[in-house]
């Protein structure tokens, strides 16, 4: 039957079926919410520049020319001529570029990604195809995360002005290799090859993104041939590895996941207590139990491979003697603590392992697992002072400032749940944002991470690693090193 299938594919359209973990919410690049909004809109929209297949290297896409001024305040671009938006929505012009970028700063758009364009002053239109992006200050992440990704894509100005914001949520129009064909809420999203695409035509004629929220179900669907490509859980990697029909691809994530310690809480004010906890925690066990050992231990907030990765960071493993020393130094021999976790299996396992670890140094850890909605509120404002330990994961973009921005002192009571306030750290963060020299930035971010380490405010667990399994007889995937799936570069089985 496998042969028949491929035979049929030779005749009919080439269809790729991809599992997505959750339904799309909004495909408008400025108002996207989830990772799957990102992945799918990336097939529909093109920006001035983009990452090449399987890499962080940037190439021109819509831009014919793309130049950054010496002082980093201006970016000149010249568009390809004659590029058409899908579904007859007109030609791509510099006006569209201006509109696409400036709307991120517009209050009416209420973009969750407005910070991507934090330093945008305005876009100057020089001619129909030429323009300049004017910045108030140089902005290092712009080239790394804003322009090559979804915040840098071009949307049709005239069309959006015509249909209004509410008309541009799931029925979007871009100028990328695929156009949106059909959306069956909670079931699937179908994109089809854009016949008028100006660039290299993608291999797949049609991609169906099928919603399967549960990992187990997805794995079954993959085995049953109901999908061709799916994210799988670390627990089942072995099963697919042993099966020649399937290929596995994985990449370390950039996310950072940690157990935070609230330094403002009286019980944790003493750095020795925090260090004792850190020394007692058995992170490798957590990794074995929660991820079947399929991920790497994280040593600091910036992931390996990124600018700012701190290679020499200490890698903590359980050391009970040391932990007891710290406890003695703090002058306590027993303590009742509570860890707040959102109720997922992953965090629960961490907490349960930590519970067992801390028991050995006389700390009784209560696990307060709560439903995620409740969890997200506990760090708010002064309420956050009562938090003791918590398990958390933040998403990350490939620029170190994305990691450090949440732990400055003005984030206390917002996202800095450790309530760790360090003026030096704040200052360094500011510097890191406007510094454009990569080497200088590397020094800045390493230093920031050291500051965090000294104060023992977090037990870093893992950056995570995402595993995808795919039908090796059918397709061959492509993604950036941080797991951004590049469906436009997916090809036939190799």
């Amino acid at each position: 039957s496998k042969e028949k299938e491929s035979a049929a594919q030779k005749d009919g359209p080439k269809i790729l079926k991809v599992r997505i973990n959750a339904d799309i919410k909004n495909l408008d690049p400025a108002r996207r919410y989830s990772r799957w909004d990102d992945v799918i809109s990336a097939t529909i929209f093109d920006g001035l520049v983009s990452y090449k297949a399987n890499s962080y290297d940037i190439e021109n896409v819509l831009a014919e020319k793309f130049e950054i001024s010496e002082d980093g305040h201006e970016i000149y671009f010249k568009l390809r001529e004659g590029v058409q938006f899908q579904k007859g929505a007109g030609e791509v012009t510099a006006e569209d570029v201006k509109f696409s970028y400036e709307r991120f700063r517009d209050e009416k758009t209420a973009s969750a990604y407005s910070d991507d364009w934090a330093n945008l002053d305005h876009v100057e239109v020089i001619s129909k195809y030429e323009g300049k992006i004017i910045l108030t200050e140089p902005f290092a992440p712009l080239m790394r995360t804003t322009l090559p990704l979804n915040s840098g894509v071009i949307v049709p100005k005239n069309y959006i002005e015509k249909v209004g914001l509410d008309g541009f949520t799931t029925d979007v129009i871009g100028c990328g290799p695929y156009y949106i064909d059909e959306w069956q809420p909670d079931q699937k999203v179908v994109v089809k090859k854009n016949p008028d695409y100006y660039g290299k035509a993608p291999y797949w004629d049609e991609i169906q993104f099928i919603v399967i929220s549960d990992n187990q179900s997805a794995e079954i669907a993959l085995q049953a041939g109901e999908v061709d490509f799916a994210e799988i859980s670390t627990n089942t990697v072995d099963t697919f590895k042993d099966n020649p029909d399937f290929g596995i691809t994985s990449n370390s994530d950039l996310d950072y996941r940690w157990i935070g310690l609230n330094v403002e809480n009286p019980k944790l004010q003493d750095v020795n207590v925090r260090k004792a906890i850190r020394a007692a925690a058995n992170v490798p066990d957590m990794i074995t139990a929660a991820y079947n050992g399929m991920v790497e231990q994280e040593t600091a907030i910036v992931a390996p491979g990124l600018l700012g990765y701190w290679a020499d960071a200490p890698k903590y493993t359980q050391d009970l003697d040391k932990a007891k020393e710290y406890m003695a130094a703090a002058g306590i021999d027993s303590l009742d603590l509570e860890i707040a976790v959102a109720d997922t299996s992953e965090y629960r396992v961490w907490a349960e392992v930590l519970q067992q670890n801390l028991k050995e140094i006389g700390i009784n850890l209560e696990i307060n697992s709560m439903e995620s909605g409740t969890f997200w509120e506990i760090g708010d404002g002064d309420k956050g002072k009562d938090v003791e330990l918590f398990a958390m994961a933040f998403q990350m973009q490939p620029d170190p400032s994305w990691a450090t921005m949440w732990f400055t002192s003005d984030q206390v009571g917002i996202w800095n749940w450790m309530r760790w306030a360090n003026p030096e750290f704040d200052e360094l963060h500011k510097q890191g944002l406007s510094e454009t020299d990569d080497q200088k930035r590397q020094v800045i971010y390493e230093k920031m991470q050291k500051l965090m380490d000294d104060d023992a405010v977090a037990i870093w667990v893992t950056n995570g690693k995402t595993y995808f399994a795919y039908n090796a007889k059918k397709c061959s995937p492509a993604m950036t090193p941080n797991n951004s799936l590049q469906f436009r570069f997916f090809s036939a089985a190799k």
């Binding site: 919410y33 969750a112 049953a224 995620s372 909605g373 969890f375 998403q395």
Partner: protein, 317 residues
Amino acid sequence: MFSYILKRVVSTALVCILLIIFLSLLIHIVPGDPAKTILGPRATPELIEKIHTEMGLDKTPFQQITGFFLNALHGDLGTDVFTGRPITEMIMDVFPHSLILTTASLLLAVLLGIPLGIFSATHPNTIGDRILAFLSISFITIPSYVVALIFLLIFSAHLRIFPVIGLGSSGNVGDYIMHLIIPALVLSLSWVGYLARLVRTSLLEVLNETYITAERSMGIKNRTLLFRLALKNALIPTVAVLGVGLGKMLAGTVFVEIIFSRPGMGTLIMKAIQNRNYPVVQGVSLIIALWFVFANLLADIINTRLDPRIQIGKTER
């Protein structure tokens, strides 16, 4: 009939009002912010405020409730702030799938349960009856999610006879039905047991009635007696129970839909609760409540067809 329906409408309206009041109050006390829950650290204060305004969380509960009802009367249950889709549309998209799933499983239950019940009632206290009784109780008591988990593995991972994930490709009726079979079977199992027992008891009861003896004494043959004269009486309680079953369909579908990744009312409300997507929770709850009332009404009406003694309107609500 008319006054009966009017009465039902009034009490349904009261139920809905109370439900929405309950949910609206809940929104004001429940911890958790929809914006933060969905966006995590991306949620800026402005964005949070905007989402609150769009959800109407800045209004007083009274305004919320009245506003909700005024709109609901026009069939407008609000829009999902995150996708911008009308909630009515979101519900109408998934409702048929839940309905088909429930109906299919009830149908399966009727097709299997009633004959089994008749068999038991006509062979009381035989080995067959005892075995059926044991099986029925087992079917009734094993939680549906346990059955679902086990079926998922047996049928999909090992046997691979039936596809079980999702709804199947759209527009392909055959594929849809194939995807329906296992989930419907899982859901129907407890109903099979339940109906078998119910039919058994009520049929046995009916067979002991004087009128059955009287009819037997008129020379009516056993077959006619059983399938024509007794069964109709025995089905009256069954129909009422099926009505409740149809009305409570969500209770079962939540698990089945989650485990088999089927879109439906269960998954919709589950996700909405998790995301604190209040307008969706409200809208879905309202529809569920209305459906519940409707299903019971339907059962009542069918029962008046079956049982001439029940005069609609004279029965207690």
